[in-house]
Symmetry: C2
């Protein structure tokens, strides 16, 4: 039973997939500074707007950003908790591995003492 704290496999798929593109990472970097319109976000990129919009949609489908359209402008902002969920997935295995290395370190140290 997946919930907001432990994303299901599809959420991780979409989240990491969304981060696997420089344009989309750029958007995230920009939104970390504060909300922005689609046009603002698109400005730095030499890309047709429909192509850019697709990136915005991928980010939104992944839950990494949210958007609202007001008048003719669509405003976008970061959903940091989803970013945090991805972060935590990675950190969990990093931690497991480091714990293993620590334990290995201890074993080697102990053996060293007895030599």
């Amino acid at each position: 039973m997946p919930n907001i704290l432990s994303p299901d496999s599809n959420a991780l798929d979409r989240g990491f997939q969304a981060l696997a593109d420089a344009t989309r990472r750029g958007v995230i970097a920009r939104l970390a500074q504060g909300e922005a319109s689609v046009a603002d976000l698109a400005a730095p990129y030499d890309m047709a707007l429909p192509s850019f919009l697709q990136h915005v949609r991928v980010l939104e489908a992944a839950g990494l950003i949210s958007t609202v359209k007001t008048g003719r402008v669509r405003t976008c902002w970061l959903e940091a908790q989803r970013l945090a969920a991805l972060d935590q997935w990675i950190a969990g295995y990093e931690a497991a591995w480091n714990t293993r290395l620590d334990r290995l370190g201890q074993i080697l140290e102990t053996k060293g003492d007895t030599q």
Copy 2:
């Protein structure tokens, strides 16, 4: 000039792309427990071995794992530092966003004081 500590864009592309698949995340989870052969890693999956091997190669190309073939067995292990690099990319923007929120919180608080 990209280096091992600050992965270039392609490294991030490949890294996050590699994590965007449940099978590959499963491999990472398994390798966090310790090294394993390709056959060991493949065992839980209902997938033809060549298909599975491709996942192993994607992980290796992303630098998330390393492998060595000894006799007829290819042994795989986790490269935690690459995992850490991805972790840190995310954590950086999460932090930027949270700092912003903190500042916003302070502003709201300050305004509250003067009301």
